[in-house]
């Protein structure tokens, strides 16, 4: 199928992007990398009257460290994380997850912020943000400047986030992880590069796992941490954590996997992630 017609409007700065959005309202959509939006256009699942191209916004680019935070501009391409020394030093969990993100061609065009704004429940970056206690920085026509939303409040449901229809994700801020932090990113997919059936992104300050932060993806309508699981792991160990997970997690079935299968697989990944966290740093 071929996309329905639209206008293509280039924004040169955030203010212009927001102004264009305000002008065109619900008929317009932002486009950054377009790796999720363009398929939807081609399939005529979406027929916006206008696309506002934000790929050239200077405010949304770059990876840097500011005041103990790793700041990733929303337009950062997935591939740009590869071999980035700041990411390697301050949020190596992202690099563990990166090989699972789609395929090379998609990683070259798709953006970190786009993935977070889309909030596919089976995607890697939202879960990583949750595990890393990231803060999303957004702006919009009605906001007084920037809004900061912690990951725990950002992901609100199936493809639903704290972003309003006219809002723009500017950047993601991740507290720099101390050296020696342990990380594990694991997922199960039928084919390399597919969205996960279930996945886990976890981090802990040491092998005792008293403060492990374990985010699951593919198990709910959004990435999920389970306080009871993390508590059980800290207090009683992995078996108790797995039991807690089995009680807590209620995954939606997908085309090929029932809720029961996904629950089981989440438990397997939990054990494997714990093994990884406890392994050599």
């Amino acid at each position: 199928m071929k996309a329905a017609g639209f206008r293509f409007l280039r924004a040169r700065c955030v203010a212009e992007a927001l102004a264009l959005k305000a002008e065109h309202g619900e008929d317009a959509r932002f486009i950054a990398g377009g790796q999720s939006l363009v398929p939807a256009l081609n399939l005529r699942l979406l027929e916006p009257r206008a696309l506002i191209d934000i790929a050239g916004l200077p405010e949304l680019t770059g990876i840097r460290v500011e005041r103990g935070r790793l700041v990733i501009g929303a337009l950062t391409r997935h591939a740009a994380l590869t071999g980035d020394p700041l990411v390697a030093a301050h949020a190596p969990l992202l690099l563990e997850a990166l090989p699972y993100v789609a395929h090379a061609a998609i990683r070259n065009r798709g953006t970190f912020g786009g993935s977070i704004a889309l909030a596919d429940p089976a995607a890697e970056w939202p879960a990583c943000c949750l595990a890393l206690d990231a803060t999303m920085v957004l702006t919009g026509p009605h906001a007084e400047g920037e809004r900061r939303v912690p990951a725990t409040e950002f992901f609100r449901g199936l493809y639903a986030t704290a972003l309003g229809p006219d809002d723009l994700l500017l950047r993601v801020e991740i507290p720099c992880q101390p050296a020696g932090t342990r990380n594990a990113a694991l997922e199960l997919a039928r084919r390399h590069g597919d969205f996960a059936i279930v996945g886990v992104a976890a981090t802990a300050s040491d092998r005792e796992l008293k403060d492990a932060r374990i985010a699951f993806f593919g198990v709910a309508d959004r990435p999920m941490r389970f306080a009871e699981v993390e508590r059980a792991l800290a207090v009683e160990g992995v078996s108790a954590a797995a039991e807690a997970l089995a009680r807590q997690v209620d995954p939606p079935a997908d085309l090929y996997h029932s809720a029961a299968t996904k629950r089981h697989l989440a438990g397997v990944l939990l054990r494997r992630a714990v093994d990884r966290l406890r392994g050599a740093a």
């Binding site: 399939l43 199960l188 084919r191 085309l255 090929y256 996997h257 029961a260 089981h264």
Partner: protein, 789 residues
Amino acid sequence: MNRILREAADTPAIGAAVPRPNGRRLLEGRGRYVDDIALPRMAHVAFLRSPHAHARILAIRAETARGMPGVLDVVTGQDLAETVQPFAGLLVHFKGMKSAQQRCIAVDRAAWQGEPVAAVVAETRRQAEDAAARIEVEYEPLPAVGSLAAAAEPGGMIAQPELGDNVCFTREVEGGDWDRAMAQADLVVERSFRFPRHTGVCPEGRSVIGDWNPADRRLTVHISHQAPHMIQDCYARLLGLSESDVRVVCPDVGGSYGIKTHVYGDELATCALSMRIGRPVKFVADRLESFLSDIHNRDHAVTAKLAVKRDGTILALGYEGTQAIGPYSVYPRTSVVEGNQIANICGQWYRLQGYRAKVRALFTNLAPYSNYRAVGHPVAVGVTEGLVDAAARQIGMDPAEIRRRNLLRDEDFPLQTPSGMKFEGMSHHRCLDTVLRMMDYDSLRADQAEARRRGVYRGIGLASMIEITNPSAMFYGVGGARISAQDGCTVRLEPQGGIMVLHGCGEQGQGTETIFAQVVADAVGVPMGRVRLVTGDTDATPYGGGTWASRGAGVGGEAAWQAGRALRKSILDLAATIHQRDAAQLDIRGGIVVDAATGEQVTDLAEVGRVAYFRPDTLGGVRPELSVTRHYLPTQYAFAFTNGILACHLEVDPDTGFMKLLKFWAVEDCGKVLNPLLVEEQMRGAIVQGIGPTLLEECLYDERGQMLNGSMVDYLVPMAAEMPDMEVAHIETPTRESAIGAKGAGEAGTAGAPAAIMNALNDALSPFGAELTEMPFTPERILRALGKS
């Protein structure tokens, strides 16, 4: 100085691993497929398709669409009902089969989700889609048969109410002495199997340009297809034209695998639309409409049993299977060949004393269903080999040993099987021995035992098999289908000494043209580089069936050989006349006419061509005839059966149900191997097409007949990362029916891979007492078999 050539040819082309000369253009982006053809004034069509699996069409409102930019024509099924005849795949040798008549665009009622209900012709595809989206159709949804189970339910819904029930075709076969065989059995192993509905996912969607030229009163059809003459015949009759009014051209084809051997309503309608507007009209199926309108296949539910003795002797096999076809029997090959072939071949490579098969094809309101690569074979091989392994496990015998005891032996041939098939010659035991050696079977078994002690579960699976190739007229012609079993080849000496070959079998990437060039080169006695091919044009080539059912090399190749030999004789006769020699003492070697005894050059083909075409007046009344045509049809055997064995090594993670394919081995006997490079690549590609529906591929539908995974996001095709390396070897048992001795090689991997995987999986899971016979083997199904989900 004259060359001296002592050998028949410097190096024979037949049997050499020659890369495809026509592959170069594909590597440079110079392939020419239907979508690459842009004709003057060409328009584009988009089809509006039924969103319902079964619905009455109450009204179609197209006024808005007609007024949209670029729109040239908007039609409904009713608009084409007068000019395009209805069709259904009905063959008289499939006794008792029935089908409703299909329209190229639905009239009054849509019978599957995806059936065209209207068409828009516009200047661009985008404009056609814009307008199609504005057509309003009022539907009254009808009860739909959304699955095999629903079709089989007594008193259930009926896919085509006018037919009275859902039964398209049934057949029962019995051979040998069933009762006597069963009476000797120590045990009877019975299993139920499920083979999923899947589809071809040709990289190039179905594509056609209908180009009606009112001035010439002629329709040229550029189409991505495997059988140009069949399309010519069908389209002429369905469009009310004479055969000579229709020219069919098949350029490069981006994958076909049997998907492109059928008549599709949308493609036919595209030609009818060209006739309406008097301009060329292009249709290229996009991926979404491909999932909904390309033929689907398999979808079998089977219960089968194998009677054996404690010593491993196999006595009898009983098969009972039902397949879910679509709402119509697909024209013109029908939708029942798959079940029919299963009844013909299931288990027949073992020394059975008794055989019973009962097959049934039921209509549904799912997408149309017909032949796809390895028609019926994955089911027949899967059931047979699954039962053989189940029996071996039950009596505690090694899977290789039970096969050694029961596979047909070389001395058994020729023979007629209990199902009535005639086998000329096979090499099951040599294939078995070879594959066991290649895979180092004993070492793999030792590795398996060692790995299990570490909690690693590996499995080894064998699948012996046969494949139907080189079909005779007993396949379709006998049933009244105008599908040619013979094929023809014209070979022509060009004035400068080149050889032009025109052949009824075309190329879809298998290497057909390369094979013909090799065969003709050796038949005439010229280097392969001198041979040029023309295929895929009904105006140019001799009449033939095209490329399907693994017939290109065996049937087409023999026609090429016969034509090449005849041309060689004509050239030698002419050279003898020119040079006052005895033709019997001349030979053609490396493109040079030589004295057969001394190898001394007498003349060359360019000189023969010069005299023949420009100075025939010097020949004293001899009239040179340097274009010869030969046709070939196998007649002694209904099919040339090949045989082979596949072996699979895999590892299962019992925690996740994930399976990793470690390695595949294949030994195939396709008779004379004309080009080992191409045969091996056919085998590898076919194995992966067999792996697909065994692990990943399945057309998922809900109970209302809505396809749930009709995109490449959700329908999972095999990709590189999960596929294994595959080692291939050959045994050669040439057919004596033809001079070249080649049988077909295109489908064996697809036929055998599912069984090999199933047996390896169940071998891996045997410590858990788990067994799976329902494909695809998803993690979920494996976990369930392990009691973990």
